[in-house]
């Protein structure tokens, strides 16, 4: 018990909170960017533009089927070879955006697919262009359908930031490891508290997801 009290000194907690902050801010930026990427890629994939959609679709399939850890290695070690210098933060964000963007594209595609095609035809016959019909009629409904899946994916994204410890992103898990590797009696207190921190963040997001799922189904 005493170990727990020592382990949760203000110095350690502050260090963990700094890690939590990195986790949250990397997650937020990645969520925002990957949502945009996912939306665009999903639309391209859905609209079936000759060749473009097939190629985009195939690339999405490749990315979706690779472990995120591998994509983190590619952005950290690979991008600099193409002339883009990365640090752990930018490399993690890039990897998360690429990976989660591809996952979201699939959700967006099936979300649009779930809207009755009659809606599109109806809007078109009322004189709307394809783009207008997509933007005003189909997308709002599709977004409603996909909100639960989107949020579930965002929860995954928050959890997945922990993998970036491998390229020394100073996020929550990494900072906890630094603390307990300097004083190994703190091993259990550290895992207890970071499990709670991750749980609180993700559970809030999951609860919203479940609530919305009930509301829209």
């Amino acid at each position: 018990m005493e170990t727990f009290i020592h382990a949760y000194s203000w110095v350690d907690i502050r260090f963990l909170l700094q890690g939590l902050w990195v986790t949250i801010y990397v997650s937020l930026i990645s969520i925002a960017l990957s949502f945009v990427v996912g939306l665009i890629l999903g639309l391209i994939r859905y609209t079936k533009i000759k060749y473009v959609s097939a190629i985009v679709g195939f690339i999405i399939d490749i990315i979706r089927n690779l472990p995120l850890l591998l994509i983190i290695f590619f952005t950290y070690f690979g991008l600099p070879q193409l002339g883009i210098v990365t640090n752990p933060t930018t490399a993690s964000i890039a990897a998360l955006v690429i990976f989660e963007g591809a996952m979201l594209a699939e959700i967006v595609r099936s979300g649009i697919g779930s809207v009755d095609p009659g809606q599109m035809e109806g809007a078109r016959s009322n004189g709307m262009s394809y783009g207008q019909a997509m933007y005003h009629v189909v997308m709002p409904q599709a977004l409603n359908h996909m909100i639960p899946a989107l949020l579930a994916q965002f929860v995954s994204l928050v959890k997945d930031t922990s993998l970036a410890t491998i390229i020394v992103l100073p996020e929550l898990l990494y900072n906890a490891q630094i603390i307990y590797s300097q004083n190994t009696t703190y091993l259990i207190p550290m895992y207890v508290i970071i499990a709670i921190m991750y749980f609180v963040v993700c559970f809030c997001l999951s609860t919203i997801a479940n609530y919305l799922q009930k509301k829209y189904n």
Binding site: D61, I62, R64, N65, L66, P67, L68, L69, L70, F73, F74, F77, G78, Q81, V155, K159, D160, T161, S162, L163, T165, I166, L173, L187, I188, Y191, I194, A195, Y198, F199, C202, F203, S206
Partner: protein, 213 residues
Amino acid sequence: MWQIITNNWGSFLTGFWNTILCSIIALIFSLILGVFFALLEVAPTKFGKIVAKVYIAIFRNIPLLVIVMIFYLIVPRYIVKLSGFQAGTIGLTLYTSAFIAETVRAGISSISTGQMEGARSNGMTYTQAMRYVILPQAMKIVIPPLGNQFVNLVKNSSVLAFVAGFDLMYQAQLIAFSTFRTIDTYVVVGLFYLILTLPLSYYMRHLEKKLAQ
């Protein structure tokens, strides 16, 4: 790139084999656990519902890596010795089972309550109705999403690299270091993962389409 493959063929194969082995073991046990907790959640007992909900909430909202680390660093010190491969596989099983439980529960809920009542009024017990009427239909619905969980499981098995689990990713890191050809090695390993995951996801998409008709 061929050189990397031919010079390290043995290492790649060991990794490939361990990744497959870990995935299959984790799949079997997470299916059993997942279905069990899904049934517990829909069962008409309050206690069971709470247990299932807590279990699912815990393992869905804590990163897999944290779960695996707990099994690798804490459990062996106090309870039972676990190797990296064992700790990784156990962590992966528990983590995936929570997602499977959610999927199966959603599948069961989507079968109308009328079916259950009908079966019960025909003299079946709750267990019989579940076993012969509800579950077979639910399983059909949840096969595509379960397939996706399996693809995720294969990808997630890469966390074994953190605990010296001798999986593909662990071998890749060692090869990348000893050959100094980082990107080439990871491209090769990426292809190994795709051999496992790509056919599976295409087959699942095909199934999904077929079931939708």
